[in-house]
């Protein structure tokens, strides 16, 4: 990391901005902040940041509109940080291109971890066909997954599911998104498939399926993969 990474905060609350500025800069990031949606967009355009932290309840424009506008050209991670905590809002934000979603009040440690994951995932070589998560190893080319060096017996659907999770490490994937990617458009409402396969996959990849560490349930929203 030659240069300090720039993070843009778009939030209208001074206190939140100050808190974020302090925590982020003391964790080695450069911080730029905007109090309105439009200011945020112009800041992002003039000084492209590696990540944007976006509030949904902005005074000038609805946060979802800003999110959509940003996503027209901005491809790096956007993390939503909002007081809106309903599952509908979260799903809507994720489906509209947000990488992650945290509700206020939040723990700064959690936020920092999410930021790190998002940046790493974005910078990681997307062509890399091999993934390693603790004792789990996934090889997309040879279509093989190993746990503690032992080859796992996975059905093809299970493998597609695992591959999708691996490629989106640390990111929350909504039910719809997973169903669409693995099963296809026609299965977007068939969440029962997803439940069954997640349960099966956990039995094979988790050390203790009752206390999953890799495949985490995000209640009512979807799943997150990664340690």
């Amino acid at each position: 990391m030659n240069e300090k990474e720039l993070i843009l905060i778009v939030d209208d609350e001074v206190q939140i901005r100050r808190l974020l500025e302090i925590t982020l800069s003391s964790n080695g990031y450069k911080v730029l902040s905007a109090a309105t949606g439009h200011e945020g967009i112009s800041q992002a355009a003039s000084h492209p940041p590696v990540l944007i932290i976006l509030d949904l309840g902005l005074p000038d424009t609805d946060g979802f509109v800003i999110l959509k506008k940003l996503r027209e050209w901005y491809l790096k991670p956007i993390i939503i940080l909002s007081v809106r905590s309903s599952e509908d809002d979260i799903i809507k934000a994720l489906d509209n291109g947000a990488n992650d979603y945290l509700t206020k009040p939040f723990r700064t440690g959690e936020l920092l971890a999410r930021i790190r994951v998002a940046i790493r995932q974005n910078q990681g070589n997307s062509d890399n066909p091999r993934f390693l998560f603790e004792s789990l190893e996934i090889d997309l080319i040879s279509h093989i997954a190993r746990k503690n060096s032992e080859i796992l017996k996975l059905t093809s659907t299970e493998f597609s599911l695992l591959a999708l999770f691996a490629k989106n490490e640390g990111r929350v994937l909504t039910h719809h998104y997973i169903l669409k990617e693995v099963w296809g458009m026609g299965y977007m409402e068939q969440t029962q498939y997803l439940r069954v396969f997640v349960a099966q996959l956990r039995k094979k990849i988790e050390d203790n399926p009752a206390k999953p560490k890799l495949l985490i349930t995000e209640s009512g929203i979807g799943y997150r993969f990664g340690s």
Partner: protein, 895 residues
């Protein structure tokens, strides 16, 4: 005579008081009443208005016709004139009174000439008196003028006297409802004098007018009629007054008249006559129509409808009863209603049969009616003849097909037996044919049966009775048999078809009774306005075969601008304003009515006990028959009554919620102020200390941790409050989705791992538990709250158990601990908001369990709390849910 007869009847008194009250809210109607045009009614009205105006009353002219009379025109000068409304009708401009402007101008008195006037097409009402009713309803007094020949009940007599048929008539009850009637009288000579001076009509017109109408004889007769009407009115007022003031007087011992009406035009005369008679006798009058097996032709039905409408206009109560025996129906009814006089019309005798029937009818009526007087009114030959010409044709109501079929069937039967003639003999053929006629009678009308009977007797005679192929009959016994054959065939056919028709009528009645029953049953089983409406729409479609739409009122007593149920009806602006009018005036309007008949739909008010609940729009393909109208009028109140009850229930619930929320607000305030202050105090104190003074590293860390804990506590309180308010407002609808309960339990135990660390947690959940449909996030919170609760109350090291199983459509979740359980006083209150058990630990909000209950109920489930036998609390949640077997999906996807 019974003494009580002389005492004023309390019900009548109450009615008259009620009427008074009703009247005081309405405007008062004053009628200037005259024998004919030219007596100076308008002039007198204007004079009277002028006097009131001098006294300071606010008077405007709504519509006054001066007929270019100078004196009248001069009087008009002093008054404010409401401009007339112009209508374009068939390319000519017509002017009518501007009803809306008058009502919005709201004067004390408005002057409206010629009450019996018929409005131009396109006006709101057909008749001006309806306009006036609306003005009165809005609390404005009306002065108006009426000529005697315009009164509905006198129009016929006037036509007989003067030879001029009066088309613009005024219902008698409108006249009778007038608060004041002032006679404007002139002697015939004076009137003729004025006429010849050209004071009544412009000179060129007066000659013709004098010749046609203003003959001294005519005028005298009209004058007598006018004066007598007013005298009767005074009589009635005296009578009313005496009743009101409990004056015993020349009490007429309850004269109750009943007039029997048929479907002939003659009955209209009968009605008018009966009305006059009852007025003179001071009695009360009802009319009855007896529905028999006779199938009415369209013409007859139309006549009947006219008669019924006329009765309504004359203010006569009309009843329809069904009975094949007219005499019995009339007498039964009369006895039940304590009728003292029965009035019937004498039908025109057309032939011997009707003469016989009439004699029979009159004799029986007189015989059975006992001490009831019977009046028989002579027939009007002219009217009856006219009727007969029109009515005799359609009596062949059966279709041509039936005639053809009857002929064919008889011919075929005859042909078969003609071939078998050698074997069976000719006599048996008569039975076969008779049999055929009887069969046909089951399916066909009277006409085809007559034909079949005649045809079969002819065929039998011609082809079978010896000598064959002649109509001649040789043996006398054959002759007798032929005659008997013909009569039996005829009787058989006619009787069967009559029974059938009667049966059909009864079936219709039965269907309607059944419909009422079904509707009442359906409505009582339904709750919620929307369900009530869809049931009503369905039933109306079923029983009336019509489409309808309900437009209900909102809380502000305005009609809602949307329809709550699915409908194919579309409303134009114009139709919506008709709906509005119907709603405001509680009177039906629109198509097929006298008011605003321009729209595509008929609008009926949904009358509740106090207010209108809204209106119903109906798309008729044809106007209701009288029977249907009665049926409809019985149907509607049931629906509107139910809607009213639903409205009331909503209102009651709202006020309950309001009082509850008031109570809640106070509890909330007390609880919150405490719960908020403690953590805030901690945060403030700790952060102050951190800012101001230098503490050791150790102490600083502890202070930081205190701040952290206080913030978490605050956050939890806020979360709980938010969840509670979402549950309360009903905005929280579960997002039902397939859930893996293993996943759910794991999630909860992981998030509570710290709290549950010191307990022996036992999860009883079968491995093959199917997927269930729940809101994952909400149910997670339910179990989270229950476990958290248990972990706070139960002693460390004790066992906590969660047991989940599925049984017969229900998911059961049980959470058990070995804590203190509930005290008897706690038990009924544990789920109440802000209720904190006697043993609750500090820091709770008293919301956790009510949130649990709210979520479970949002899933249509139940939750109970009880004490375990060996100590501790047991919560049992029972939620109806679908399941999906995991194994099936497994198999499905491996293929």
């Amino acid at each position: 005579m019974d003494l009580t007869d002389n005492r004023p009847n309390p019900d009548d008194l109450l009615a008259s008081m009620k009427e008074d009250e009703e009247k005081s809210k309405r405007g008062k109607l004053k009628i200037f009443f005259g024998m004919c045009a030219g007596v100076g009614k308008t002039y007198t009205m204007l004079e009277a208005a002028k006097i009131e105006k001098v006294k300071g009353a606010d008077i405007v002219i709504g519509y006054v016709e001066t007929h270019n009379r100078k004196e009248t025109a001069a009087l008009v000068e002093g008054f404010e004139l409401i401009a007339r409304k112009k209508y374009l009708y068939k390319s000519t401009h017509v002017e009518e009174m501007d009803l809306d402007t008058i009502i919005s101008r709201k004067p004390q008195i408005v002057l409206v000439d010629e009450l019996a006037h018929t409005n131009a097409p396109g006006s709101r009402h057909l008749k001006r008196y309806q306009d006036v009713q609306e003005i009165l309803d809005s609390g404005i007094n009306v002065y108006t003028t009426v000529n005697v020949q315009h009164l509905e009940s006198r129009s016929e007599v006037v036509a007989q006297i003067t030879g001029i048929i009066v088309r613009e008539t005024l219902p008698d009850d409108v006249f009778e409802s007038a608060d004041e009637v002032e006679v404007v009288d002139l002697t015939p000579d004076e009137l003729l004098q004025r006429l010849s001076e050209g004071k009544v009509y412009a000179p060129e017109r007066s000659k013709e007018a004098v010749l046609n109408f203003f003959r001294k004889g005519n005028i005298t007769a009209l004058r007598e009629m006018a004066l007598r009407i007013v005298a009767d009115r005074v009589d009635k007022q005296l009578h009313d007054y005496m009743q009101l003031k409990r004056i015993r007087g020349p009490w007429k011992s309850g004269v109750h008249l009943l007039v029997a009406v048929s479907y002939t035009t003659q009955s209209s005369r009968l009605l008018r006559w009966a009305k006059n008679l009852s007025d003179t006798m001071g009695g009360n009058l009802q009319a009855i129509y007896v529905e028999t097996a006779h199938d009415l032709t369209d013409k007859e039905r139309e006549n009947l409808d006219k008669n019924i409408n006329l009765a309504k206009q004359l203010g006569i109560r009309f009843r329809i009863v069904t009975n094949s025996d007219i005499v019995k129906a009339i007498v039964d009814f009369a006895q039940k209603e304590n009728i003292t006089h029965i009035i019937i019309g004498k039908p025109r005798v057309r032939n011997l049969l009707t003469l016989f029937r009439l004699g029979n009818f009159v004799n029986r009526l007189i015989r059975y009616s006992g001490n009831i007087d019977v009046y028989i009114l002579g027939s009007d030959m002219l009217a009856d003849d006219k009727f007969r010409q029109k009515a005799s044709m359609p009596s062949f109501t059966s279709s041509i097909n039936q005639y053809l079929a009857a002929t064919v069937m008889i011919t075929i039967t005859a042909a078969i037996f003609f071939l078998l003639k050698e074997f069976v003999g000719y006599q048996i053929v008569s039975f076969a044919l008779l049999f055929m006629v009887s069969i046909l009678a089951f399916f066909f009308g009277r006409g085809p049966i007559l034909l079949a009977a005649t045809l079969s007797s002819l065929i039998w005679d011609f082809f079978f009775i010896p000598p064959p192929y002649t109509l001649h009959v040789e043996k006398p016994e054959d002759m007798l048999m032929l005659a008997m054959f013909f009569i039996i065939a005829l009787l058989n056919g006619v009787l069967t078809s009559r029974v059938r028709a009667q049966e059909q009528k009864i079936r219709v009645r039965e269907e309607r009774t059944h419909a009422f029953y079904q509707l009442a049953k359906g409505l009582s089983a339904t709750s919620g306005i929307d369900d009530v409406l869809s049931l009503a729409v369905k039933d109306i479609r079923k029983y009336f075969k019509i489409e309808c739409a309900f437009i209900l009122r909102d809380k502000a007593n305005q009609l809602e601008n949307h329809i709550r149920h699915e409908t194919t009806l579309n409303f134009s602006e114009n139709e919506l304003s008709i709906a509005e009018w119907t709603f405001r005036h509680s009177t039906k309007a629109g198509k097929y009515t006298d008011t605003l008949p321009s729209g595509n739909y008929t609008f009926y008010p949904l009358k509740g006990n106090n207010d209108n609940m809204g209106v119903i729009a109906v798309q008729h393909s044809k106007v209701f028959t009288q029977g249907e109208e009665q049926f409809w009028e019985g149907f509607l109140p049931q629906i509107s009554g139910k809607i009213e009850r639903e409205f009331l229930r909503d209102a009651a619930r709202n006020s309950y919620i309001l009082s509850e929320s008031d109570k809640l607000y106070k509890t909330l305030f007390n609880s919150i102020s405490h719960e908020l202050r403690i953590p805030v105090a901690t945060i403030l104190g700790a952060s102050d200390a951190l800012i101001d003074q230098d503490y050791s590293r150790e102490s600083r860390k502890m202070l930081h941790e205190e701040i952290n804990k206080a913030a978490i506590r605050l956050n939890r309180l806020i979360e709980n409050l938010l969840n509670m308010s979402r549950l309360d407002s009903g905005r929280l609808t579960p997002r039902i989705d397939w859930c893996d309960l293993h996943d759910l339990i794991n999630k909860v135990t992981q998030s509570l791992s710290e709290e549950l660390n010191h307990f022996d947690v036992d999860i009883v959940l079968p491995d093959d538990m199917p997927l269930v449909q729940l809101d994952f996030g909400l149910m997670e919170q339910v179990i989270h709250n229950l476990l958290l609760n248990a972990s706070q109350l139960a002693p460390e090291g004790s066992s906590l158990r969660v047991k989940i199983f599925y049984d017969n459509g229900f998911l059961f979740i049980q959470v058990m601990d070995r804590g203190p359980g509930f005290s008897v006083s706690d038990l009924p209150m544990v789920f109440n908001k802000f209720y904190r058990g006697e043993l609750a630990v500090a820091g709770g909000t008293g919301l956790g369990l009510s949130i649990v209950k709210g979520i479970v109920e949002a899933h249509k489930g139940t939750i109970t709390a009880e004490n375990r036998t060996n100590g501790g609390a047991l919560f049992t949640i029972k939620i109806p849910t679908n399941t999906s077997d995991m194994m099936n999906i497994d198999a499905e996807n491996k293929i």
